[in-house]
């Protein structure tokens, strides 16, 4: 956590950051106009990049492994205990996460599978490979995925994440606060989230 914060501060206080919030309108415009060079992102986001950068971005993107593999959300499948058709729901969830289906989805929109046994059978579409300058994305993602730690997600994971990125880091990056002030702001925000 400390190292992640220090790394983020190193970027936020330098002139390397494009000062954009993720999934914000200006961020999308940045993709379309090519106003930033690099984005640290999860595996499933290469479809998003392709969509937002459009045809003009073809062959101008490349993929490299992040220094440390981590989990940045994505989707999860759950079956509520109150459901009327639990058995069928479990069967559907199993079918959706089976290697064959996941390989098909990957070939179509490059959503990286959650099932490790699917890694071997992955074949990205030729278009996707061409878009990302022929990067060996299956290899890069499969290698990274093997080193990801298993994480527990609390109920307040999302608002706590927002408190760190959109309050703490943003204050340092765009309001000229010191990293210490940013950290205090994030801490206060997290306290508010937890109702303390």
């Amino acid at each position: 956590m400390k190292k992640a914060w220090a790394d983020a501060m190193a970027v936020a206080t330098s002139n390397m950051s494009a000062k954009l919030k993720q999934f914000d309108k200006p961020w999308d415009q940045g993709y379309a106009n090519g106003t930033f060079a690099t984005v640290a992102c999860p595996a499933w986001m290469i479809g998003y990049i392709e969509q937002k950068s459009g045809a003009s971005g073809k062959g101008k993107w490349d993929v490299a492994a992040a220094p440390t593999a981590a989990n940045w959300g994505g989707s999860f499948i759950g079956v509520p205990t109150a459901g009327k058709h639990q058995k069928e729901a479990i069967a559907l969830a199993k079918w959706l996460t089976a290697p064959e289906q996941q390989a098909k989805v990957f070939a179509k929109q490059a959503s990286f599978p959650s099932t490790p046994s699917a890694y071997a059978s992955l074949k990205p579409q030729a278009d996707t490979t061409a878009y990302f300058s022929g990067a060996p994305i299956t290899q890069i993602y499969a290698d990274s995925a093997k080193t990801i730690p298993v994480q527990y997600f609390g109920i307040k994971d999302q608002p706590i994440g927002t408190a760190i990125t959109d309050v703490g880091i943003l204050q340092v990056e765009q309001k000229g606060k010191s990293p210490a002030q940013g950290w205090d702001a994030a801490k206060n925000e997290v306290k508010d989230v937890l109702g303390q």
Partner: protein, 342 residues
């Protein structure tokens, strides 16, 4: 319905129009205009009961609907505000008494949101109403295509908050927004509207002003057209110029209308929500990284639906309600003062 209308049209005659009676049949037997039988008879009692009860019966539907969708949620929110409730587990409520309120009173975020609501309300309402009076005054002159001008004035009001805010967010964009582009011609460096302390409040206010000025202008215009022309005539005879006529005839005659628009705008300002939420973009419910333009409505939304502390959000909702009551009381006092001074 017909029977009740007849009851209102002919209050005196008989009990023939009591609800449940078949008007035609009874009328045939009795005839119209016949005085009611003795005061103790069941017909006259039924008639008196009808006159007393019917109005209540007619307004009941509103109160039933209001009770189901207004009062019950209001009371339920009060109940929630005395509990610790999480959005993720609504069934588990723990009684905490007034803890949520104590928590609010000691929370910097709450006071900050209250202050923002007040300042944004002030810088959006005052220019808005001044502009509206000026525009209404201009529209009150004989103009060519006056209907067209009036319709144009009302179009911002007919635009949805979401669409308007989206366009304004693009205009105020830090990098490549039109406003920063215009400012660079006069030598001003690009302003980070969203994250600067006053820039966000200014931008949000400008959206409110844009949307509501035309609406208020039309209300003022309607009131201005109801001012008798002879007042202006006699003022002109006394040698008052246009500006003096405006100040000494138009404004005093508009006083009740101005008060109405002030009350409505104040209520709107207290509940300000959509504009700052959408202006903030991603995690807009924070109202900027330092909560620069987080209004009370936004803080409530952030606590209730983003963070999931429903108990605290309910306490914020009730605090907002109490604040509105105080504002309404102050408005009423000022109104009374003004009337006395008249």
């Amino acid at each position: 319905m017909t029977s009740s209308k007849q009851a209102l049209a002919h209050p005196a005659p008989s009990a023939e129009t009591a609800p449940g009676d078949q008007p035609g049949a009874v009328r045939g037997a009795q005839g119209r205009g016949r005085p009611p039988a003795g005061p103790g008879s069941w017909r006259s009692r039924l008639y008196r009961w009808d006159m007393k009860a019917s109005p209540y019966a007619f307004i009941t539907p509103f109160f039933l609907v209001f009770g189901a969708f207004g009062l019950v949620p209001l009371l339920y929110t009060a109940w929630y505000s005395l509990h610790s409730v999480q959005l993720s587990s609504l069934d588990h409520q723990t009684w905490v008494g007034l803890d949520n309120y104590k928590n609010l009173l000691s929370s910097d975020f709450f006071w900050n949101a209250l202050q923002n609501t007040f300042t944004i309300g002030l810088i959006s309402t005052v220019p808005q109403l001044l502009l509206a009076i000026g525009i209404a005054h201009l529209l009150n002159y004989k103009l060519r295509g006056s209907t067209l001008w009036r319709v144009v004035m009302l179009t911002p009001y007919a635009t949805s908050v979401a669409a308007a805010t989206l366009v304004f967010t693009l205009l105020y964009s830090w990098d490549g927004g039109m406003i920063n582009w215009l400012l660079h011609f006069v030598g001003v460096d690009p302003i980070n509207w969203r994250e600067s302390d006053w820039g966000g409040q200014f931008a949000v206010s400008s959206i409110v002003i844009w949307r509501w000025t035309g609406y208020n202008a039309l209300i003022y215009l309607a009131a201005m057209q109801a001012i008798p022309a002879d007042l202006y005539e006699s003022a002109a005879l006394d040698g008052a110029n246009r500006w003096q006529q405006f100040r000494h005839v138009t404004i005093p005659m508009l006083r009740p209308t101005i008060l109405f628009t002030v009350v409505v705008s104040t209520i709107g300002a207290t509940q300000l929500f959509g504009e700052p939420l959408l202006f903030g973009g991603v995690s807009g419910s924070k109202g900027g990284s330092e909560h620069q333009y987080q209004t009370l409505g936004l803080y409530m939304y952030d606590q209730g639906w983003i963070i999931g502390n429903l108990g605290k959000a309910s306490a914020i909702a009730w605090s907002m309600f109490l604040i509105l009551l105080i504002v309404a009381a102050v408005n009423m006092l000022i109104n009374r003062r003004l009337r006395k001074s008249q």
